[in-house]
């Protein structure tokens, strides 16, 4: 039986136990970014809420996409992961407020996705697969054993990306 490790809002978790599954429940505009090194069998999942740490804050936090990606990468590397081998999968970043009267300035989802791409590019990392944007929430499961990512949306079967 596999163990499930929930990754809450603004958190990241990683594991070296191939039986573990890292889960971020109900991602709306938040993004879930999973990184796995299939050789050293270490994997981590980030559940970031906002794109960038506000000006003036010097303490990096996994609450922010930009900070979170670097924190997760550093942790994985510390435990033996090789950045060039990483499987990176990304999901979330939906526009949850797709209603008349709400301007695009509310579209934090799109800003989170952009922050993720910009940060990954800066760190010379490439996304292996993704399912981002849209207007619906997603629960994301990231498998430590093989770096697979599955997605569940309301009323739909779980599927792999």
């Amino acid at each position: 039986m596999r163990d499930s490790l929930p990754v809450g809002l603004g958190e990241f978790k990683f594991s070296q136990d191939p039986e573990d599954i890292l889960i971020a429940y109900g991602l709306g505009s938040c993004v879930g970014i999973g990184m796995a090194d299939p050789q050293t069998r270490i994997a981590g999942l980030l559940h970031a809420v906002l794109p960038y740490n506000p000006n003036g804050s010097l303490i990096p936090s996994p609450k922010y996409v930009s900070d979170g990606i670097e924190i997760l990468l550093n942790e994985l590397v510390k435990y033996g992961a090789n950045p060039s081998r990483l499987i990176i999968r990304m999901a979330g970043g939906a526009n949850m407020l797709n209603a008349p009267g709400f301007t695009q300035s509310f579209n934090i989802g799109a800003r989170n996705i952009k922050a993720a791409y910009d940060t990954l590019q800066r760190l010379k990392l490439k996304v292996t697969s993704q399912e981002v944007g849209g207007t619906i929430g997603r629960t994301v499961r990231f498998y430590v054993r093989d770096g697979r990512m599955t997605i569940r949306t309301l009323g739909n079967q779980e599927r792999e990306i």
């Binding site: 109900g26 709306g28 939906a94 934090i108 929430g137």
Partner: protein, 202 residues
């Protein structure tokens, strides 16, 4: 982050009287709209950690309905009502004067009925604030979102970074013909708003 720092008890009790008044007025408006007597129990206000909201609603992956309004004007903020999906169906029945169990899914009509409930409740709550303090506030049009609890909560976080803070939960029961359905509202004033409101209350 300072717990209770952003929502002092003075602010909470100030809000409590306004909420009660606003909800009673909303119930009267609902009565006129539905044509049957609608009432609301005395709303209970408590401060709840934002991170604990999913627990109250059965978990972040549970299906739910969110009714969302932005507060615009001198006291900017957000009002979000999150109801478990099954409760939202009951509430739609209640608003439309149908026997409980009639509504099986939320179509355009049912969503619009729920939006109207959010609209009336939000408007009367804001009217009570405006009347007591003489400032200009108005609600945005309501948005109705059907999704997982976690995804609905992200909407609040997108404009107000309250992740590790407490927010005000207003619990009220809507009653019509001895049938009742509970609904929880979350009131999240933007940070500068709280200082102004507290000053008004003092």
């Amino acid at each position: 982050m300072g717990e209770n720092k952003t929502h002092p008890s003075k602010f909470s009790s100030f809000l409590s009287s306004l909420t009660s008044e606003g909800f009673q007025q909303a119930a009267r408006a609902m009565t006129e709209m539905v044509g049957e007597t609608f009432s609301v129990t005395e709303p209970k206000i408590t401060a709840v950690k934002f991170n604990d909201i999913p627990k109250i609603l059965g978990g972040p992956e549970n299906d739910a309905v969110g009714i969302y309004l932005r507060i615009e004007g001198n006291f900017p903020g957000q009002i979000m009502m999150i109801i478990p999906y099954s409760k939202a169906l009951e509430l739609a029945d209640l608003i439309m004067g149908e026997p409980i169990g009639t509504t099986q899914s939320l179509g355009r009509l049912e969503r619009s009925a729920l939006a109207e409930l959010g609209n009336l409740t939000g408007s009367f709550f804001l009217n009570a604030i405006a009347d007591s303090s003489g400032v200009y506030v108005r609600p945005s049009p309501p948005a109705v979102i059907v999704d997982m609890v976690g995804a609905i909560m992200d909407i609040i976080l997108a404009t107000s970074d309250v992740l590790s803070e407490e927010v005000l939960m207003v619990q009220a029961k809507f009653i019509q013909n001895q049938r009742e359905t509970q609904a929880d509202f979350w009131i999240i004033p933007d940070h500068p708003t709280i200082d102004t409101l507290t000053e008004t209350a003092s």
